[in-house]
Amino acid sequence: MTAVLEVTNISKRFGGISAVDGVSFDVHEGEILGMIGPNGCGKSTLFNCILGQLTPSDGEVKVDGKVVTGFRPSDLNRLGVSRTFQLLQVFPKLSVRENLILAGQEHQGSMMSRLFGPSDAGLSEAADRMIGFFKLDHLADEAAGGLSYGQQKLLDAAMAFMGGPRLVLLDEPAGGVNLTMLVDLRERLAAINREKRATFVVIEHNMEFVMSLCSRVMVMAEGRVLAMGKPEEVRANPAVIEAYLGH
């Protein structure tokens, strides 16, 4: 199996605090890696270091064997690395369809063709397919800011897939989403993973969601990797139970 993402010895220090402390792991093509750990253990910081939102203090990130440490998020995205955020990140005044077109447009053509070409960058159909796939049909022309929290979360996830990414990092996709929608979301993610061979890394606190979706789980505590393995192995690991799962 080839590694889509290789993270080697990444550290991030804020003043005297090491938020991420020498973390290394690989993500293989087509797998769904879950990432769990208590709040403040450095999961989101690690994401931000991988994705160029933060510059790591140390270490190296490779995507498809190419070193991308210090790349800007927009350049990484165009290399096929996409993400969602822990807190809602949609464009509230644009419609659902416009949000999706926006999410894919920079992957189409050049700056010039985006100025002189069609106003939807040829993405209306793809956007409508994505809207159908995430069951947002009746909301396609609504302003994204008017959607419910769960619906915005679905839109947020849908946006991450518009550019046809190879690797998607999802930061708490299930947070604040109700049970029915959660089942939908898991099913959608699993389907994309199956059909498009897209590779995922998922930060999530909902254990059932992680255990049923992910092929491997990485547990973080205090900025380090505490355990890594199959969901059932991790669940049985005493150190993990101690640090995170509780008794």
Binding site: P73, Q105, A121
Partner: protein, 332 residues
Amino acid sequence: MTGAGRYWRIALGAIVIAGLIVVPMNFNRYGLFILSQWAVMTIAAMGLNLTLGYAGQVSLAQGAFVGIGAYAAAIMTSQGMPLISALGIAVVVCFAVGWILGYPALRVQHHYLAFVTLAFSTLAFLVFRNEDWLTKGIYGISNIPRPHIFGVATNRPLPFYYVCLGSLGIVSVMLWWLIRSPWGRAFQALRENPIRALSLGIDTRRYTLMAFAIGSALGGVAGTLYAPLTQYVDPVPFNLSLSLDLLMMVIVGGAGFFFGPFLGAMIAVLLPEWLRFTQGYYLMLYAIAVILLLIYSPTGILGILDRFLAERRTKTASALRAVAESRLGTAP
């Protein structure tokens, strides 16, 4: 949008355009001057609306770009060069300077950015006033000729009004295209959520600079019309207060609404004229009107309309939902 609504809009647009062409035929010299000034200021405000209203980047320098355009036109046409070449130079210079002025926006935002652009505005004013060899300083440049368009002289007020109106039309179409293009969407993404935009592959740096450059270039276009309109250019009209006026036009009309600058410029240019009968009080009345408007609707005049339409849509939607629910209730 429904088909009928679309036809109403087209009909309304056609009536307004026809009105702008036909009605001023009976206007006197002064009326035509005011209306031409409205067209010119609308162009400048549309540029600022792109930078501020759509892309969310505050600028207090738009007046300086009008000045650069006006001086380019004044200097070149009084040397006998055609206005169109001055337009070309003004657009290129303002685009380039606007691009450079955009760099601070990559580091600072909001009122910090306002201060940076304010400093540029002051700098430009000092150049207009002190560089006598180029701008003739405080004496200004007079006897600026009006252009010949396709061999037709536009010295009289009415033909020159049509030049201004035609330019406004061309700029409007171009800007409409830009706003509807993926670029327009990316500009709005800068305003709404730059961090998310970046993670979606949108090169926020390039789009920010573009928003500044294009907006500034439109200021330059307005300036190249301003010089032959007044036929005299001196530094005073291009001080900070013009930038503030343009900012007010955008805010009062409705920032981020395509037709906001048209309304805003109308109020800023025409209202003081209408209130002139009150003599010394007109500026005060004007100020009070603006304050009241912004308290009532911080999103400007078009914000009121938008709110009204949104409310009506919500009412229609909930009425439909009520009907649907009552049907469900009676279903076996």
